[in-house]
Amino acid sequence: MKESLLDILRCPMDKHELELEDAEYGENGDEIVAGTLVCVECGERYRIEDGIPNLLPPDMREETPA
């Protein structure tokens, strides 16, 4: 995902902003390939894997453990 997506991306639960942690960038520099998005309000953590952020609410995300 591009950093620009962070402008409009929000926590699916409470719609508060997300903070990027442990970001790994791709070769071009502007692609985030891995990291964690953390809700500034509720602290819920959403992982970015292979450049794709997973913003399923926690209960749906955990249905089938990866």
Partner: protein, 226 residues
């Protein structure tokens, strides 16, 4: 089975490209109607292979295009089909959209909306993320008047919402969206075999198949945010 399990399997079996090919027959006509200005942001709900967003980049100069899908394998496949830096995919659910209020200019959804666990709430979420005057283009082949679609529920474990035309209009309005248009778009491209080839595996009669595709086609309901 969850949306994730069901559609991850579809993605693994390449069904995403098969749907793209079939849905394109009618989706392209609906996409062409979106009053999208160059630079605007589009969200594709239940994006599957992601073809719709990519088409809007190419034909109308959409600025940023995001495809959201509940199945990680769908989102991964979609990401693999493009290098366009203005296109992004994410995993998420219709009922809990991970976007800021008023952040999207146009929402698109083809053959996906009726999988929402709570369609009324999904519509409220869509109304929330759309900017004032933004549009929601909701296209479905599975709907009440299309009697030939009713049996589809038997083949899938996710509960499907089967609204009729007026329920779509009412649902949109209850969520605060005005209805700009409602239409059925015929699929004029699918090959319909000649009379003597019926019954086929899928169709008892040619008449039914003609009605399904050329008449019922795809139901499009357009919502406009106030």
């Amino acid at each position: 089975m969850s949306v994730r399990e069901e559609f991850d399997e579809w993605a693994a079996n390449g069904k995403d490209r098969g749907m793209e090919e079939r849905h394109w027959h009618t989706a392209k006509h609906a996409l062409a109607r979106i009053p999208l200005e160059p630079g605007e942001t589009v969200l594709d709900l239940g994006c599957g292979s992601g073809y719709a967003g990519r088409a809007l980049r190419e034909t109308k100069g959409a600025g940023r295009v995001y495809g959201l899908d509940g199945a990680p394998e769908m989102a991964h496949n979609a990401a693999g089909y493009t290098d366009d830096p203005a296109v992004g995919y994410l995993v998420g659910d219709f009922d809990s959209l991970p976007f800021a209020d008023d952040s999207i200019d146009h929402v698109w959804s083809m053959e996906a909306f009726y999988y929402a666990a709570d369609p009324h709430h999904a519509l409220e979420e869509i109304a929330r993320v759309l900017r004032p005057g933004g549009t929601f283009y909701c296209a479905v082949n599975y709907y009440e008047e299309n009697v030939h679609s009713h049996e589809w529920q038997e083949f899938i474990s996710i509960e499907m919402t089967r609204w009729d035309r007026s329920q779509y209009r009412e649902g949109f309005r209850n969520a605060g969206l005005s209805v700009g248009e409602q239409d059925t778009i015929p699929d004029r491209e699918i090959t319909i075999p000649s009379e003597e080839e019926f019954p086929t595996d899928d169709w008892d009669s040619r008449e039914d198949m003609v009605e399904r595709y050329r008449e019922y086609g795809t139901l499009l309901t357009v919502g406009v945010a106030p």
